[in-house]
């Protein structure tokens, strides 16, 4: 008897539908479980998976079909996927678990399945009017329709598009660009009434009319009239009027394609009804994603939600069983070159809502924000959509806007002040203009990558082009390009953004789990939260290391191998692999002895460059790693932490000790703050400044905490920033004594240390939670404030200086010695 175990046969996964949502699910599945299934795909169209969103640019002649293919024939082959393109599934036998399909020549095939993925998408709605079956009457849904329109444009003159929604207008625009005379017939009084209010709809109409489109609004179609060859020749309306028509495009809406599902007796209601795991409620072996699936009563028609669904479905197909799809918020953007339009949420307003409106019809700019219970619930922008992504973020986060209400209309584009020639509107830039000043990436390069490589998310663009991947100041511009090139729905990102690719959890969830479950090591966090990678990545490991050590001071042990090199070597790495050393000078004050020691060190170790920093300290550049320990020892000054996510400099002016204008001893205040809070790690770098009078020579208005002396005490400012985007600090509180300055500063920064996300500066933290929240915690809650200040003092008590107490600071000194090759 043969005792060898039979090779385990793979399970069979069959996918019906070869569109973007389905194929994305396969991609996600192959990433996490490449060998689990034998995969077979049935697609009714004779093409591999392509980017349906970009059919409009193809129609407009801006791109070709080849350019919008997302997965080539080779992709299916390389991943051992059997693809039946051009085969339509006619029947599914759920008892025998068999899929039957037929092709154009009438051949049939059958395939068995263990799991079935229904991704049948949607079908266009065709008005049930006489003449709907005439030649020249088409929908706008796929490559065949697009080709039919391109073909018609070469032979005929008059086109009618029925439907003034997103798709209809894109079709009309494309046909017009191809030389046809186009009229848009719309039953409603304004265009895109589901995405725009009537004011914005009229602005859009005006702008499209200027380009040459004609509109027949409020018109009800009665019938399509055919000629002797059976081709449409005219359209007739209920009021008796007639318009010539050689081509009629019906773009009046889409319906989830559930015909097959219904024949399989799967429960359908506005789509194939699925649970949060994307399994059909009728049959747990069968999954459904994309436009055909109805999740909590909604069938999504935009790409981003479908990709979220794909991720969850793949996770369950891969038998990991974690992750649920909880629905998406969506926003809209029209892909008509030169028209800037954005809407999201409940932009129509309604009962108990307030509206803030800015209207400049002459300049073609209109903005409406809808607010309810101090929260932004909707936005409709026309002509200037720079702030669309910011409004969308506020909408998604649901944070109170009461503290920024007066500035809300003016937006907060997340574009830095420098590095891109002062541009803030990507549309106005030429292809050769540089968007990313760090990595030298032009607008043309970014747009080409988005189109050619089928990119949908900011992360993908950063990976492929490096644009906005360094300092991030051009992120807003790149988002605009993405919005415009890839379509409107890119921004409908998941409600929580994953920390990195190693997990689906966001920063907040990780912080809370560490605090609530007393997780003391990185490994225990990875286990508890079911990380996908054994030891994380360079993004998550430093973040999680910071979260455990800041949440559990004195208990959690720091892991130096999870810190980037600067915090591991306690110096700042330079481009040639040498380091820079910046000793701490309390409050920016020094003396002859310190300067003499620095001078001696510079000569002894041949340090090539000595530079005065912007933070009132001295930087020694080009120190060899093997010299670091001796340099620190010989200088004999404390570590300046100029390399760390920690308290860096406390910049001060001369103050009342010398200055004839000074009202307070700012230098002493700065030294006291610095001595109380140095050695403090934080989510990002932290800078303070103290000025002795309102002339503010220490530039305290652009620091994380800025203190300004006045005759009657001190003013405290928080969450300023002087780097990528200059942010003026907010006035926080007026204080009397220097003891109060220490307590309030310490409490504020401890709150940030406990609640900030890794790599989030104070300005971003305060923008996220709101200044009112911070005021409540620090100004209104006296006990809470004192507890925070005490926490910080407890955390810092006895903390080592990493330049001198190597053991205590977990400095692995082996790194300073090179290994030799024995003779």
């Amino acid at each position: 008897m043969d005792m060898r175990a039979a090779p385990k046969t793979k399970q069979k996964l069959v996918m019906i539908g070869n569109g973007m949502a389905g194929v994305r699910t396969l991609e996600e599945l192959l990433k996490i479980a490449p060998d689990l299934y034998d995969i077979t795909v049935f697609g009714a169209e004779p093409h591999p998976n392509y980017n349906r969103i970009l059919l409009s640019p193809v129609l407009a002649g801006e791109q070709t079909i080849d350019e919008i293919i997302l997965n080539s024939w080779d992709w299916y082959k390389d991943n051992s996927i059997t693809l039946h393109a051009g085969w339509k599934v006619t029947e599914v036998d759920r008892i025998k678990r068999l899929v039957h399909a037929t092709n154009a020549t009438g051949e049939t095939i059958s395939t068995g399945y263990d799991r079935l993925l229904m991704a049948t998408g949607s079908t266009p709605f065709i008005l049930p009017i006489p003449g709907k079956d005439l030649a020249g009457v088409i929908a706008y849904r796929d490559i065949a329709d697009t080709n039919a329109m391109i073909d018609a444009a070469t032979k005929y003159q008059h086109a009618i598009v029925i439907g003034g929604g997103l798709l209809g207008l894109e079709a009309a625009n494309g046909l017009m660009l191809r030389g046809m005379t186009v009229s848009v017939v719309h039953v409603m009084p304004t265009l895109m009434e589901r995405q725009l209010d009537s004011v914005a709809g009229k602005l859009l109409q005006k702008s499209l009319e200027e380009r040459g489109l004609k509109f027949l609004l409020g018109a009800q179609t009665q019938e399509l009239v055919g000629g002797p060859e059976g081709r449409v020749t005219a359209i007739k309306f209920k009021d008796g009027t007639v318009a010539p028509a050689d081509l009629v495009v019906m773009a009046v809406g889409i319906r989830p394609n559930t015909a097959l599902a219904e024949s399989m007796r799967l429960h359908c209601n506005k789509g194939i009804v699925v649970t949060d795991t994307l399994q059909t409620v009728t049959d747990a072996r069968i999954y459904s994603v994309g436009e055909c699936a109805a999740h909590r009563g909604i069938a999504y028609g935009l790409v981003a939600p479908l990709f979220e669904q794909a991720k969850v479905a793949a996770n369950h197909l891969a038998e990991f069983g974690i992750g649920r799809y909880l629905g998406s918020l969506t926003s809209t953007k029209l892909k008509v070159t030169g028209i800037d339009l954005f809407s999201a949420g409940e932009f129509m307003g309604g009962e108990n809502t307030e509206e803030i409106v800015m209207s400049d019809p002459f300049a073609g700019v209109y903005k409406k924000l809808v607010i309810k219970d101090d929260k932004l619930i909707g936005a409709c922008l026309y002509g200037d959509t720079v702030d669309g992504s910011w409004y969308f973020k506020l909408l998604r986060d649901g944070r109170s806007i009461s503290d920024i209400r007066d500035k809300l209309m003016f937006g907060e584009s997340n574009i830095g002040d420098v590095g891109h020639q002062g541009h803030n509107k990507a549309a106005a830039m030429a292809d050769s203009d540089e968007v990313c000043g760090c990595n030298g990436v032009t607008k043309g390069t970014i747009c080409k990558a988005i189109k050619d490589k089928g990119l949908f998310t900011l992360d993908e663009v950063r990976k492929q082009t490096k644009a906005s991947a360094s300092c991030g100041s051009c992120t807003g511009l790149v988002e605009q390009l993405l919005m415009f090139t890839a379509g409107g729905d890119y921004s409908a990102t998941p409600k929580t953004k994953a920390l990195c690719a190693c997990t689906d959890h966001g920063h907040q969830a990780v912080r809370e789990a560490i605090r609530n479950n007393k997780l003391l090591t990185i490994d225990s966090v990875y286990k508890f939260m079911v990380w996908k990678t054994p030891n994380g990545c360079p993004s998550c490991r430093p973040a999680v290391n910071y979260y455990v050590t800041s949440s559990w001071p004195k208990l959690a042990k720091d892991d130096p191998q999870s810190r980037a090199i600067n915090e591991r070597s306690h110096a700042n790495i330079q481009k040639d692999g040498t380091y820079s050393v910046i000793p701490r000078m309390w409050g920016g004050e020094t003396n002859a002895s310190e300067l003499r020691r620095i001078a001696d060190v510079v000569e002894k170790y041949n340090i090539p460059t000595v530079k005065v920093t912007g933070g009132q300290r001295i930087d020694l550049l080009g120190v060899k790693k093997e010299d670091l320990q001796n340099v620190w020892k010989d200088i004999g000054m404390p570590c300046g932490h100029a390399y760390a996510k920690a308290l860096r400099t406390v910049k001060t002016c001369v103050g009342s000790e010398w200055c004839r204008m000074g009202t307070q001893d700012s230098t002493q205040m700065g030294k006291d703050l610095e001595r109380a809070m140095w050695r403090m790690y934080a989510p990002h770098k932290v800078k303070y400044a103290v000025s002795g009078c309102p002339r503010n020579c220490a530039e305290a208005g652009i620091k994380d905490v800025g203190i300004i002396g006045v005759d009657s005490g001190w003013e405290m400012y928080v969450a300023g920033n002087g780097g990528i985007k200059t942010e003026v600090a907010h006035f926080f509180v007026k204080l009397k004594t220097s003891a109060e300055v220490l307590e309030f500063t310490g409490a504020f920064i401890e709150l940030y240390r406990q609640e900030g996300w890794y790599l989030e500066r104070t300005v971003h933290y305060v923008n996220r939670v709101g200044l009112d929240y911070v005021k409540k915690k620090i100004l209104d809650d006296h006990e809470g404030r004192q507890a925070l200040w005490e926490n910080l003092q407890f955390a810092l008590d006895g903390e080592p200086d990493p330049w001198f107490e190597f053991d205590k600071a977990e400095v692995d000194t082996r790194q300073f010695d090179k290994l030799a090759i024995p003779a």
């Binding site: 492929q464 360079p538 980037a564 090199i565 591991r568 481009k575 040639d576 692999g577 790194q815 030799a820």
Partner: protein, 128 residues
């Protein structure tokens, strides 16, 4: 023919870390240790802008360059897509807890590549 030399013990390299091996000629060689105590050896030079890979964060079987975060596979020296480039790799074996490198290879392989320059040395290089 190879000529294996004991360089250090596996335990001399930090877990998820690296050490530098100085060569009489040519740039240093970085030896890495992952969580499974496997050891890898690469020229200490990122194919992108020459960053010292020994100073990077080690994760899985990759190391992230400390200068611009390129991810380099430690088995092959190959940069992870979409980045393109490869850093020379060196033969390495572990015996009884000791890390061995091939002396012939150390003396002959990848001697032409140089450290990037910074500071006054950059300007000096431009004017000469």
């Amino acid at each position: 023919m190879s000529n294996w030399k004991k360089i250090c013990l596996v335990s001399d390299i930090p877990v998820l870390g690296a050490r530098c091996v100085a060569r009489p000629q040519g740039m240093d060689v970085a030896v890495f240790r992952n969580a499974q105590d496997e050891v890898f050896a690469l020229l200490d030079r990122c194919p992108h802008k020459g960053g010292p890979l020994s100073q990077g964060i080690v994760f899985g079987s990759s190391v992230a360059c400390p200068l611009h975060n390129w991810n380099i596979g430690m088995c092959t020296g190959q940069a992870a897509a979409p980045d393109e480039g490869c850093t020379p790799k060196f033969s390495v074996k572990v015996e009884d807890g000791a890390v061995l490198l091939d002396a012939h290879e150390l003396a002959s392989h990848a001697l032409d590549l140089t450290t990037p320059t910074a500071g006054p040395a950059c300007k000096a290089a431009l004017t000469t």
